[in-house]
Structures are given as structure tokens and as C-alpha cells.
Symmetry: C2
Amino acid sequence: MARIALDAMGGDHAPAATIAGALLALQELAPEHGIQLVGRAEVVRAELEAQLAAATSAVRAQAHRLTIVDAAEVIEMTDKPSVAIRGKPQSSMAVGLRLQVDGQSDAFVSAGNTGAQMAATTYLLKLHEGLTRPAIGTLFPSARVPVVVLDSGANVDCSAAELVQFARLGAVYAEDVLGRRNPAIALLSVGEEPEKGNAAVKDAHRELAAASGLNFVGNVEGRDVPMGACDRGPFDVVVCDGFVGNVLLKFYESIPRLISVLLGKSGVSKDQLALALGGLDYAAHGGAPLLGVKGVSIICHGKSSPEAIKNGILVGLRTAESRMSDHIGQRLSSTSEGYSA
Amino acid sequence: MARIALDAMGGDHAPAATIAGALLALQELAPEHGIQLVGRAEVVRAELEAQLAAATSAVRAQAHRLTIVDAAEVIEMTDKPSVAIRGKPQSSMAVGLRLQVDGQSDAFVSAGNTGAQMAATTYLLKLHEGLTRPAIGTLFPSARVPVVVLDSGANVDCSAAELVQFARLGAVYAEDVLGRRNPAIALLSVGEEPEKGNAAVKDAHRELAAASGLNFVGNVEGRDVPMGACDRGPFDVVVCDGFVGNVLLKFYESIPRLISVLLGKSGVSKDQLALALGGLDYAAHGGAPLLGVKGVSIICHGKSSPEAIKNGILVGLRTAESRMSDHIGQRLSSTSEGYSA
């Protein structure tokens, strides 16, 4: 039995999209699981009642699995991350995460201000021993299966030791949440040879090659990421700093738009296009767990549709049920490396 | 009248592709221009004669505009960059570049070992005053017009001062070779706000915002690059360090393959696909000038087809005729910033 706390106020289309996403999720979650809608109680209740009034009886029959948890404040997309900690202690983010601290919830899911979510999660749930920063692991669609790219935006300046920690975090994520056995870990660089890369990447390569308990397959290049494989074989996790990861993530997200522009001139039908680009739709892959914290905090895209929110909730459930966070703690304590940054 | 030196031995498909590219180029270059084929004279002559024997009379009629320049040594793709300077002084790269030093050639074009070409060019042609490293400016196809991304691989660790110099180099390239007036310069980062980015990018933003003689439009994100524009308008040049630029370049090059895989499942015809992806074909955009050196050295993709070699030769001509290198020297000497790296 899992209780998933959803930030009902988070995201560009909240609360309409978040509550619609919660209703979609109830249809897919096993009946023992429930969702906690965290936000301004009167706003959430009004939106929920309006959506239920227009819903089918099947949807209405599941509504008892929803709980409304009141949170008086809302973090805006333009608020600084620190607001989540000091400025608005009664925000839906802070309240939703405190449920987990108090043992009343198993996962937190938000499409709100990412910086604020990272700050609030790190402050309230705390990091596992040996870590100084959390990392965001994002799924990139590939021609094979999706690959985890991390860090994809939490840390813009990274040391070699941090890159090594990302490898460990990504390995557990791929194993627990994606079900990959002995996941193959790749290091993103500008050439496959160990001596290629910037200073941090070259040092990280040496440390990863010597690290125990990691299936490190060496460097991969930008061209390998969309394929999910390099000449030496497939990989599951791509390690990079958060600056490169974020640039790449946003670049990738714009590819469907580029393809639409290009194919618009070639007479391809809209149906063909939708079918081809469906595999690149990040909404289908749900949210990204903030890795390294003691607990579950799932980051969804600010533009999340109800479908994307639903998938974020499913990722939250999978992350909680697989006990990923516990496994990360165990894995880190069994290795001697710590952050040196 | 321009004389373009082509590294006949450089590239995965040399000398067949390079000589075929030279013959294609002769059909497009105005009759006063000539091409110098630099390489092992007997190998080049045999290949040229074989291709001419199979060519049309129109092609054969232009063959007198080709000169063979003997170079006893060949730099392999696996050679270290330093080989170009010390190990093989009679390589086609060294000989081709020395023609320019001696005033006997106006541009050098190669699809050979990029690291070796950078080293040999920097050593033989020298850098303009105030620079410590050259940069590679690569054209990225976009939904609008191609944008220059630099550095795209010459410098994996960059200071803020170097990023500012890339902006100046890119501006002259866009103006002279691409014909853009008052080109708009963007800085690649993880958010559009000036305070977003890693340490070097944040400092570079401040310096660029204060720099004179540059049309700096601020930060752009990964999603803006394939569009050639951000919310605030279009841009011509994207400044980033060579690690990020190289990862992005290789990622981009693999997109057509990804699209083929995705569209292969959707029933799109091969003709439609070819039409749509034609705009993403880097071969159509020719080579990338090595920026910052006193002279012209055009870097072509190692996999260059005859068409790509031809386009590299055309870029070499345009770079020489526009006097881009002189303009870079003038621009740098009129600004006070120098490399601090």
C-alpha cells in the first residue's frame, strides 16, 4: 500500500492538469494505493468537484482514494529556490515533503518550480551520507530503449568525484526503476579514448575504470546517445555534468518540433508524423527522480499534461516500491568514495 | 584569382573522394581559380588519371586548373596531433599549409586528422595577436538558417575570456563567410537569465554584455539551437566551450539516423525521408574554418564524400576572398580583451 503525495499547485497548467492526472492515475494504480492532493484546500476541492461532475461513474467510483491535504502557500515558477525553505514554509511542496518525513506518505511528485523542489527536497528529506548535492536522472528516448542521462540540470559545475557518484546513483535508478540488470554505465565525452575529455571527465574516467561494483563501459560520444548504444555495445546510463546534460535535454526536447518543420515540407501526413514522433514524447516517460535524497521526490516537466502527471505518479510509485532510496544508501556506504567537491 | 590547396590524402575515402571533390569543384569555381592537389605525387596522379579517363569531356577540359604538389608523407587518422609538427614534416598537411606561408596558396582544405590539422595550422600559420588557441566554428542546420556553433571541439576546457574571444571570431565568420549583417551572438546556457550557467558561462555573460562592437543577444538554451531563434529573436552564432559544442555536434549528426529509425516504423517513403532530412545533411554545408589563425584552414568531416569536399573547397574560397582572417586580426587588435587562460 503506497500513498503518493501530488503537488496539486505545481506546473504551468495546475491545478487542472494535476488533478486530471491524479484521476487518470487512479484508473491504473492497483486499488490499495492512494493519492494525496496537496494544495490550497478550497481551490483543490473546487477543481476536483468540477472534474468529478464531468467524469464517468468509473472515475467517480475511485475518488475515495484521494485525500486533500491543505497547504496555505504556493511556490511560483519565478520564485527563487530558497523560498521553498525559508520564505513559504506552508507551500504545497514543503507540506507534501513533510508528509514523507513524518511517515505519512511514500513519495512526492511535482511539476512545479524545479529549483525550489530540489532545495526543499534536499532540506527536508536530507541527502544520503557522502553526498553534497542531489542529481536529476532524466530518461532520453533512444532508437533502442530509453537511457538515463544524469546529471541533467541540478549541478552545473561538477568534479570528477561527483561524476563518479552520478554513476552510482544512475546504476541503482536503472536497476530499481527501469528494471535493467547490471546496467551498463557510460561516460559522455568527446571521444571514446580514455584520454579524451575535459579535466573532470578525464579524471572521472580513471576513477570509474578502477571503481568496484560498476559495469562501466567507457566513454561514449554525443552521437551514441540517441542510439542508446556505441560501437562497443548498448548502455543504460550516461554520466555527464548538469550543464552538458541540461543543454542536451533541452536540445532533444526540441527535435520533434524541428522534425515537424522539416517534414512539413515533404508531404508526410500528420498521422505518420504523430506515430513517428510518439517515441520522442517525454511526457510518455513520466517524471525524473531526484537522486541521492533519503526518500522519493519526482520532478515533472513544468508543462506537464494530465498524461505526464499520471506517468510521474507511476514513476513515484515504482521508485517507492522498489526501495531505490534505501538501495542507494546501501550502495554508497559500501564504497569508499565520497564527494570531494 | 585564388589557389586552393586540397589535402588529397586526408579523409576516410581519400584519395578517391578528395580528387572527385576537386573535379566537382572545378565545375563550380569561376575559371580563374585553381586547385592544388597535395599528396604523394604518384598516387594522386594515378587516381586523377583514372578519374579523368572515366569523366566527361567537360570535366577533362578543366583539368589544366589542377596542380599536383608532391608531399612524401601521410598523416594517419590514428596519429597524434604532434606528428603533424615534428614527426612528419613532409606530410600533405604540412606541405599544403607551407604553400600558404610562402605566398603560393590562398587556402588549405583537409578531411584528414582534425587534431593534426589544428596543430599544424596553428604551428605554421600562427595565431592572431591575443589568442592562445584557435576555435572551430561549425554550421548547425536549423529550422531557419544555419547557425555557427563555436567552439565545436578544439578547446575542451574554456575560460570566460576564451568564450568572449569565440564570440568575436564567430561574429567575423558569420559576417564574412555567411554574409550575415551585424550577426546576433548568443551564449549557450541552462537558462536565459544572466545568472544561469556554470562559472565560466556566468562570467562570460557579464563580459559579453559589457563588450563593445558585438551584437550580444544574451543566453540561449539547448532547445533554441535547432530553431535558430529564441523567444527574443533569431541568432547567428552560438558560443560554448568545445566540450559542450562537440557533444552537441555529434548528437545533432546522429539525428537523421534516429529519425530514419523512427519513421521507418510509420510508413513514410524513402523519398519523403530523403527530402526531409536533406536539410540536416552536414555535407551540404561544407567544411569549418579553423578560426583565429593567420590564413585559411578548412576542416572537413573525415567521412567526407566528393560533394562534401567540393563544398569544403567552396568555403575555402569564400573564406579567402572575404579576407576573413585579416578582419579577425583587425577586430582583435581594436578590442582590449586578450585571453587570460
